[in-house]
């Protein structure tokens, strides 16, 4: 039993940061992300016998993703998501003056991401940050590879649109 526990910890604890990052991309607050990560690890431990021994990170991330969706469904209410967006949009342009152009672009990217549906944020993170292949994405998200292609393409297009929209809004506010 202890051996199993040690093996589990050795395999999955090194991916805690990646697990937290995914959870935090999917939900809007740090506290929610923490709860999801803890629940996901407990789920992973329960299902550890089903782990085939390859790609521990991918296996864990799939569990984090599924746990996040269940968690959101269970705790869903307009509260967190709406409040988060309001906080961002309540800040006036002057309060958000960029410290540098790069920082300004990073802030814009963050804001644009918050306006994307969770399914788009998820596929962007898994593909572009985590580097998952289309095959891995299809398996984890339980969708055909054709859908992976189209969802990824739509997600990137929407992100570009949101970034452009943010820039236009700020230009209008300036004038």
């Amino acid at each position: 039993m202890e051996e199993k526990q040690s093996l589990f910890e050795a395999l999955f604890l090194p991916h805690l940061e990646a697990a937290y990052n995914l959870a935090r991309w999917l939900v809007r607050t740090d506290v929610d992300a923490e709860d999801i990560v803890q629940e996901a690890y407990l789920n992973a431990l329960k299902g550890f016998n089903g782990f085939r021994g390859t790609n521990a990170r991918g296996w864990l991330m799939t569990i984090v993703r599924n746990t996040a969706y269940s968690w959101v469904k269970k705790h869903s209410g307009p509260s967190n998501i709406v409040r988060f967006d309001e906080e961002i949009h309540a800040a006036s342009w002057n309060e958000r003056l960029p410290t540098s152009f790069l920082q300004y672009r990073i802030d814009q990217l963050r804001e644009a991401l918050t306006r994307l549906p969770a399914g788009f944020r998820e596929i962007l993170l898994l593909r572009d940050i985590e580097g998952w292949s289309y095959k891995q994405l299809a398996a984890a998200l339980n969708i055909p590879s054709g859908t992976v292609m189209s969802r990824l393409s739509r997600a990137r297009q929407r992100l570009r649109q949101e970034l452009a929209r943010g820039q236009n809004e700020e230009l209008e506010n300036e004038l």
Partner: protein
């Protein structure tokens, strides 16, 4: 391959997931279509920007310890988790404020009392008949 097909397959090509035959067709199209070539460059740059600048959230320092405690079946050591609730600070401020206010009122009450006794004692002395306040 025409421009419309290039647009459809561009993301897959940039991800290195397009099969080699189609990738070759796409590259041949770039050689005679400046507009699609520029589009590919623009998308590649955007992807590079996104990968470099996308938010990477760091887990809070206590998470690892809390998680280990839970995994090992112990009591989760969320010792200071209540400190993350904003209401706790409002409550603390209220309690502290009440104590301070009570203290101030008690002091000012004592001061008034002392002054009244002093005035009364002075008025009782034979040489002191009247107190006149000067500003």
């Amino acid at each position: 391959m025409n421009c419309e097909e290039v647009d459809r397959f561009l993301d897959v090509y940039l991800d290195g997931e397009l099969d080699s035959g189609q990738a070759l067709e796409l590259e041949q199209h770039f050689s005679h279509c400046q507009s699609c070539k520029s589009l590919a460059k623009e998308r590649r740059e955007f992807l590079a920007f996104f990968k470099a600048c996308a938010p990477a959230y760091k887990s809070p320092p206590q998470l690892r310890a809390e998680l280990l405690a839970k995994l090992r079946g112990g009591t989760p050591k969320r010792t200071f988790s209540f400190l993350r609730s904003p209401w706790i600070y409002s409550a603390a401020a209220l309690v502290l404020g009440s104590f301070l206010a009570l203290d101030i009122f008690r002091d000012s009450g004592n001061e008034l009392y002392r002054e009244a006794v002093l005035h009364h004692s002075r008025s009782l002395t034979g040489t002191h008949l009247l107190d006149v306040t000067s500003d």
